[in-house]
Every structure is written in C-alpha cells, then in structure tokens.
C-alpha cells in the first residue's frame, strides 16, 4: 500500500452525550414512546373469547398449531397471504411516509430509536445531563462511578429482560407462560429467546445506539432513496442562519424584528412558515419592533451548538442532509428554544422541503404543505396501499367456514380397472373452521356419468372435528364406454355440503381418461 495519509483503518467510537431538550417534538416523542411501548408490552395480555376449544388471547401467533389469531380474525397456514399482504402494506406505508415526511419511521417509531430514547432517559435520570455525564465519562473508576454505572446497567437490564420477556408472550398463552417462566417450568426455547432478546436490547439500546443506525441498519440507504427535494425533512435554513456568529445579540434582535415586521407587511401571511409558525405551547413572537441597527450583518445562527449537543446521532445538521440523520427533530426543539431566548422567529432548523429554498431565499412564500405532500409518487403509493388493503379486506369477508382443496393424484394419472372402467384418485382436504364437529357430504357435478366413492367409507359422509383439517382419499370412476374414460381430460367439480347447515363449497378439477388410443 502506498497510502499518503495516516488514515486509520479502524476508528474508536466517539461517545455521544445528548443533552436534555424540551419542546413540541420532544413531548410528541414521549407520547409516541408511551404508546408504542404500551402496545408492545400490553398486547399479549388482551383477552378475546373464542369459545372453549380455542385460545382466548386476542393476539396470538400459535406456531405449534400453525394458527394466527388477531382479535376476531383467525389465519390458517394456507391463508398466509394475509400476513404477506400486511407486510406489503407495511412496506408501501413506509414508502409513502418516507417520500412525504422523510425518515419519520427512524425518528419516532423504530424500536432502536424508542428503546435508545428510553435507555437515555434512564441514563440521564441516574447520571445527570450532558455535562455531568461527560465529567463522569472522564472520571476515574472510583466508588461513585461504579455505583452510578452499576445502577444504570441494572435498570437497563431490567428493561431488557422485560422487553425480551414480552416477546415470548405473543407466541403462547401469556398468563400460563408467565407462571411457567417464574416457576422455571417453561420450554428452554422460551428462556433462550428471552436471553437473546435481553442481550440484544441491552447491547443495542445501551451501548451501540447510533452505531446500529449508521453501520448495521439497511433502512437509511433504502429510505434515503425514496426522498426527493419535495420531501418534508429536518433541515437547517442556512440562507437565514449564515454567516453564523455571536454578534451583538441585542442589536440583531432589534434589526431582525424590524425586518420581520417589514417582510410580513410586504408579503402578507405567505411567509408565515419562514417566520415560523408557533407550535402549541410556544411563546408567540415578540410583536414590538425595537429600534433598527443594521450595522450587524450576522445571520440568525449564533453558533451555540445546542442542535449538536442534543443530537442522539452526534451530527451537526447545519452541515446539510446527512445519512446519519434520523429526523428525530430534537435539534428543532433545541434551536427554537434558543431563537425564542434571543428573540428570533422559530424555525431556523425546521421540518421543511428543500425545494422551497429558492423561494425562501427570495423572501417569497413557500409552497403550501399539501403541495409538497400531494405528489405523483405519494398518490401512487397511497393508491397501491389502498388496493392491497381493500383486496385483503375483500378476501377476509369472502372467507367461508368450510373450505376444501382438491389435489388430483398424478402418480399415476389414471387407473384402468378390470372391467375397463377408468378411475382417478383425488386427495381432498376438508377444513372445518367452526368450533364444532361437522359432517360433510361429498358429491360430484360433471356432464359425464361418474361414480364417486370414499376410501374407508361406505357412504359419502366425512366427519371433520372442530377447527381441524381432514385428508380424505376420493375415487372417481368413469364407465368404460363413457366419453370421459377415453377423453384426455374432462372438467369436473367436487362439492362439499354441510349435512345439517346449508353451507356448500366446491372446487373445480379435471378427470383424466385413457386418452386417444
């Protein structure tokens, strides 16, 4: 190698100590965290009465019996397309949200973000805010540091165990499993799953944090490909903030307020977003324009580094769009806070569309929000999402309580009997999705005259126990002289009918004859 520089091959991790921040987005994120964690931890404990023979857990992935239960919906293995469809909808939904609002998934609902946030909360609670943590990080390992670290790790570990523990409840009856887990009677698989998820939660949430997002996660690359200049994303209004500098805050305050009022009068309400719309709970902008002192030509950014200090990814948003940015908007809160204190309009760092830059630079009104959101690609994603959703709903409502699948035996395709009759064999699976045993009668409809018989049965009735599938061998025989016996193939329909209730279902299949000889 002829490397000219002393570039290291491997870089040690730069520790990040995000500062606490208050504001609209921070509060919004607390709510999202509460709701998502609540859903995750509590869902397995919801009950749903399905009758005696079926589990009464509202959401249950019953792998042992190959059944998914979701409230009133019960998904059998052959209906796995429902799950596939939901995954497709989740994917399309991600495309839609990403193209409209950037990486909102990353910033608000990704488990890595939610749990890292939770772990940071614990860290801040035990070790203090940014400066205290920085000091502790540099301190020698004395008793105090050990005490704080061990306390923090212990709380993290408890959260991690609860996280891993909640996962297994989705796969079997939660109260029973909890009892078994506590009395060490559970299957080893449960303990191993909990151990693995505990370890990953502890390591990913506590130690790897932003490293997961930057180095392990494929989504940043994929999501970034779905964004374009019209996507609403977290960005820095450099045309407003540059050149940065402390300047004379008091003078600039006056100058800026004057300018803002003049602009507001000139351009009307159109520049509301440039001036910064107050979020609920935000102080309104100062209304009285102080005296003007234009000598100071600094931008609005006073280079206070608040946006950098609060960033959980450790980046500086003022450097422009970055792959590391998860658009969590904490820098917006931090910057708005500073702007309010120095008497500037909020929104130096803001959710904005980069395509608005020229308009904002020129002092003109940016495009209204809906024109950024409503674009051909977002409309296309919405339409596709709706199509899949409506398709799934349709499929859900046309589901029958009885179903059959017919697999003609093709080895051999037909059998010639001693009297010259031709017989085909079919493997018929009869599913009884009801909670009680049903007796089904099989019959045949076809233009040809054929006989139907069941293996191991003198009549044409098959009893199928509740919530079960039965495999039944069915013989269909065509007389030697019948056209079906000598044709290559003849259309045929197999019917099942509930003997008591008037429910019928059928499947089309074919009958193979001897062919032209």
């Amino acid at each position: 190698m002829t490397s000219q520089t002393n570039q290291p091959l491997y870089a040690a991790r730069t520790p990040i100590f995000p500062r606490r921040v208050n504001g609209f987005f921070r509060r919004f994120k607390w709510w999202i965290m509460a709701v998502t964690l609540g859903i995750y931890y509590l869902t397995p404990w919801l009950r749903w009465d399905r009758g005696v023979s079926l589990p009464d857990q509202a959401v249950l992935i019953d792998l042992a019996n190959r059944r998914f239960y979701f409230l009133w919906i019960e998904i059998w293995p052959h209906e796995f397309y429902f799950v596939a469809g939901l995954l497709i909808m989740a994917g399309l939904g991600l495309f839609l949200f990403t193209s409209a609002l950037g990486r909102v998934w990353c910033g608000y609902t990704c488990p890595q973000t939610v749990w890292t946030d939770l772990f940071l909360l614990v860290e801040r609670w035990i070790e203090g805010d940014r400066n205290a943590r920085l000091r502790l990080h540099k301190a020698t390992w004395d008793v105090r540091k050990w005490r704080l670290r061990l306390t923090k790790w212990a709380v993290w570990l408890m959260i991690a165990v609860a996280t891993g523990g909640a996962w297994v409840f989705y796969f079997t009856d939660a109260p029973t499993l909890l009892r078994d887990l506590l009395s060490f009677d559970s299957h080893p698989a449960a303990y191993i799953t909990i151990a693995i998820l505990t370890a990953t939660t502890f390591i990913f949430g506590g130690f790897l944090r932003e490293q997961v997002c930057i180095y392990m996660c494929p989504w940043p690359r994929i999501q970034a490909a779905m964004m374009d200049p019209d996507t609403i994303t977290v960005a820095y209004r450099d045309w407003r903030g540059e050149p940065r500098g402390k300047g004379n805050v008091k003078n600039r305050k006056a100058a800026e307020a004057q300018k803002a009022v003049a602009e507001a009068q000139a351009a009307g309400a159109g520049v509301a977003r440039y001036a910064g719309t107050p979020y609920p709970g935000k102080e309104a902008q100062p209304a009285t324009p102080p005296k003007l002192d234009i000598a100071n030509e600094h931008g609005d950014c006073i280079d206070c580094m608040a946006c950098v200090n609060v960033c959980p990814m450790g980046i500086d948003i003022r450097n422009g769009q970055q792959m590391e940015c998860i658009t969590c908007a904490l820098c917006i809160d931090a910057c708005d806070d500073v702007m309010a204190r120095i008497g500037k309009p909020r929104g130096l760092i803001d959710y904005l569309a980069l395509s608005d830059e020229p308009a904002e630079r020129a002092g003109a009104a940016p495009k209204p929000l809906w024109r950024h959101i409503l674009r051909p690609r977002t409309i296309l994603y919405t339409v596709m999402w709706l199509l899949v959703g409506v398709g799934l709903l349709y499929a859900l409502f046309i589901r029958s309580d009885i179903e059959l699948t017919v697999s003609p035996v093709r080895n051999p395709t037909f059998v010639v009997l001693s009297d010259g009759d031709v017989r085909n064999i079919y493997d018929v699976r009869l599913r009884n999705k009801a909670g009680e045993e049903r007796v089904f009668r099989l019959s045949l409809s076809s233009d040809a005259l054929m006989r139907i018989a069941l293996e191991g049965s003198d009549n044409l009735n098959v009893a199928v126990p509740a919530d079960t599938t039965v495999l039944q061998r069915v013989y269909v025989t065509a007389r030697a002289g019948d056209p079906a016996a000598s044709a290559d193939s003849t259309a045929l329909r197999l019917w099942v009918e509930d003997v008591t209730a008037q429910i019928r279902a059928s499947k089309a299949t074919t009958f193979n004859g001897r062919g032209a000889q």
């Binding site: 190698m1 002829t2 490397s3 000219q4 520089t5 570039q7 290291p8 091959l9 491997y10 870089a11 040690a12 991790r13 790897l208 490293q211 180095y215 035996v409 093709r410 080895n411 051999p412 059998v415 010639v416 009997l417 001693s418 009297d419 010259g420 017989r423 064999i425 293996e455 191991g456 061998r473 013989y475 030697a480």
Partner: protein, 287 residues
C-alpha cells in the same frame, strides 16, 4: 497504484474507486467492527475444536463434543419409535381387517406403511404403486394372489416364487414352445384374445379353445377367470401384467412367465409388514 485523492467536500481521502463519477470515501470502520471480527475468529477456533471440522485423509476430526449427525438421526428415530411404541404394540396385536374401525391407529398404520412402501417397494411397484410391465399395479382391482388385507400381508411377508422363504406363494407356468405346435400356439393366443376382446378371428379362436381346454384351463379356469390359489391371472379382464396384444401373449405362452417377489418377513419388522399391507390395501385396489 494510483495516487490517493482527497474529497473536496468532506476532506476525506478516497479509495480511488470511481463508478460513473461517484467516488468511494475511505472512511475508517468502527473499531467494534474489528473486535467483532476477532471474536468470530476466536469462536471459529473453539468451534472447530468442539465439533467435527478438519478434513483428514479418511474422515474428519471428530471434535471434543462427540457430536455426530448419524448418532443424532439414530437418536431421533429411537425417540420417535419410543413415542409411537404404544401404537406399534397396538398395531402388532391388531386384527387387521378391523383396523379401519380404529381411525387413529389406521391413520398411523397408513402413514407408516407409506414410508415403508417408498423405501422398500417403490423400486418395482413405483412410488405411486402403479407398477410397471411385469410388476403389478397395486391401485387397480385385480389381485393375482388375493387383495384382502390378510392376503396382502401374506404376500408381503413371504413373497412370490422365491427360493428364500419356504412359505412363498408358488406356481409355475410351463413353457409351451416344447409342448405345443406353433399353429396351436397361434390358435390358443387367438382364443385368449377372444376372452376379453370383441375383435378376433372366430375360426382360429374356436380351434384355440380346444387347445386351451386341454392345456390352460386347469389353472386359468374354463372361462379364463384365473385362479388365485395359484396366482393364475384372469385372462378375461382388461388388465394385463405383461401386455394383452398377440405378440406378447405368444411370448407368454411359449416362454411362460415367472414373476418373483422377495420375502419381506426377514427384513421388515412385524409392525412394518402390517403397516405396509394396510397402506397397499388403502391405495384403492384392496378388497
């Protein structure tokens, strides 16, 4: 090696790789990545010590865990046999014709029999049991030696015309080329054709009927309906083991046929013989 360049925007050195104007920055990897690599190396060394790994001249190092796929499979099979011990005992003690009255046991027997069939019988009878020329189709309703489940079990257990099992089902058709004149053979073939077909030479068949009565009817019956005690096929139906055309029939008469099936009694467990008999009986041709 080309001279290293530095990216203007980030100030980071590039690797010199260029794809359509997009250059790769030579950013360092995180150090934990390196430690992960070291950990995997340590893991790999431990793994190759613990488990079979290094190929040697004959076989491979066996590892200190004593782990072996064969032993695992054997243990799995033993575990399954153990789980099914009850069903096996019931099957061995069962009255075979009454088996369908016990649906659970019947389902187990047929599933087990299917596996036995595919491993031991499919080589001749085909995986779907449709047979082949000379090997009976087990799906139809024609049974040379009888098609009830006990007769099937006897056939499986002792086999046919083999020299291994003294109880093998046995019969032998003479080769008629030394016994009959060629003209007589032609005539008897025409008679046999007439038994199951409407297109034949009536005069020739008439002559053949005499030859048939003298030479064939003792085994195949006067009307050609066969005789199960001797495994003599029914000549009047639509099913032909070796073929029902005149040329094939001539060869059959001249050279005779001698289909052999090995006895499975010495090779299969009692439960397997019963299971495979139940399976064959369930295929659709059993009586």
């Amino acid at each position: 090696m080309s001279k290293r360049k530095t990216d203007k925007v980030t100030g980071v050195e590039t690797t010199g790789h260029n794809w359509d104007g997009i250059e790769e920055l030579n950013n360092p990897l995180p150090r934990w990545w390196l430690w992960t690599l070291y950990l995997t190396i340590i893991w790999a060394i431990g793994y190759t010590i613990a488990y079979p790994a290094w190929p040697m001249i004959s076989g491979a190092t066996s590892g200190v865990m004593g782990w072996s796929t064969r032993a695992n499979v054997a243990a799995d099979i033993a575990a399954h046999e153990n789980t099914n011990a009850d069903l096996v005992a019931q099957l061995v003690a069962s009255d075979m014709p009454a088996l369908p009255e016990d649906p659970d046991l019947n389902r187990y027997a047929i599933a087990r029999g299917g596996a036995v069939f595919r491993a031991n019988c499919s080589q001749c009878h085909g995986s779907g049991a449709a047979g082949a020329k000379g090997y009976p189709n087990l799906l139809d309703d024609d049974w040379l030696w009888g098609g009830d489940v006990e007769q099937i079990m006897t056939t499986v257990r002792h086999g046919i015309r083999n020299t291994i099992d003294d109880d093998a089902l046995y019969s032998e058709m003479p080769a008629f080329e030394d016994i009959l004149e060629p003209a007589e053979i032609d005539a008897v073939v025409e008679h046999v054709v007439s038994l199951s077909s409407t297109e034949f030479d009536a005069a020739l068949a008439e002559q053949g009927a005499v030859v048939y009565a003298d030479n064939c009817s003792s085994c195949h019956g006067d009307a050609g309906l066969g005789m199960r005690d001797l495994g003599a096929p029914n000549l009047a139906d639509a099913i032909w083991l070796y073929g029902g055309d005149r040329d094939t029939l001539r060869i059959t008469v001249e050279k005779a046929r001698f289909g052999v099936m090995p006895p499975w009694g010495p090779r299969l467990k009692e439960a397997d013989i019963r299971a495979v008999s139940a399976y064959v009986h369930s295929l659709g041709g059993g009586e």
